[in-house]
């Protein structure tokens, strides 16, 4: 019996965002946008979804006079991401 893949992470853009955040302390919106190649609107929607389930936190502030939105993965998000990767490995090893 395979573990169920977390539907919140099993989406291209949300998975990319979580993969970036899993490797850094925090990242700002413009960095995530550049790395994923997503549009601002689409990225905002996906960030809201990840925030709603407590996988990431979002902090709005300023860098100089420019507004800055910073995203950070939470311990819950890190656990969910690790479980997702483990589940993927099981799927792949079973398919070989």
């Amino acid at each position: 019996m395979f573990p169920k893949l977390d539907p919140l992470l099993h989406s291209e853009l949300r998975l990319a965002v979580m993969s970036i955040l899993a490797g850094v302390d925090e990242a700002d919106f413009t960095y995530l946008k550049k790395q994923t190649g997503a549009t601002s609107g689409n990225l905002s929607v996906q960030i809201d979804k990840l925030t709603a389930v407590g996988y990431i936190t979002v902090e709005k502030g300023f860098k100089g006079k420019m507004p800055r939105t910073t995203c950070k993965i939470t311990p819950t998000g890190q656990d969910a991401f690790n479980q997702y990767v483990e589940a993927l490995k099981e799927y792949i090893s079973a398919s070989k």
Binding site: H10, S11, S19, V24, T30, K34
Partner: protein, 191 residues
Amino acid sequence: MEQNKEMTAQQSLQIISETFNNSRKEILRGSAKYFMLWGTLLTVVSLVIYLLWHLTGKPEWNFLWFAMPVIGYPIAALMGKYSKAMPQNEVSKMLGNVWGVFGVFAITLSIIAIFLVPMRVSLIIVIIMGLAECMSGVLLKNWPIIIGGFLLGVGGAVFAMLVKGEAQLLIFTLGGVLLLVTGLIMKLQYK
């Protein structure tokens, strides 16, 4: 990137691996500019002090070393402020820590050597600088940087013991060039 495209397990793992690696490369490429800044500064300052000492015969020109942090830290802060917001990962944080600790040791030992206990400060600094460079190479998993740091530390120690006067400063010129090359290697390695 689409938000709800159907993905296979392989595609998911590929996205994770590609995104993670691209982000890692971008961060380390961003760290390269600090190596290039301090390398350029070290090369220029050591050469200027060498020339002034050589031309006037006065070792007091060594006080110009304190110009390095005075010039370097504000420029580094400005570079951070005006460049695109770059996150920190474990490697970039460790690199910053290694060179931060080196800076604290170098400045403290220089002050002690000048005002309290005379010591062969060039010898000590070149050894810890080689060590910091070597550690950077280990963190970046880059053999040329590891070997360069080792040669700078060990070769520089021998050079500092054999050579007297202003000629000792030339080892720091070489150290500056090595930092500059490290920055260039990082730019190329993480292209």
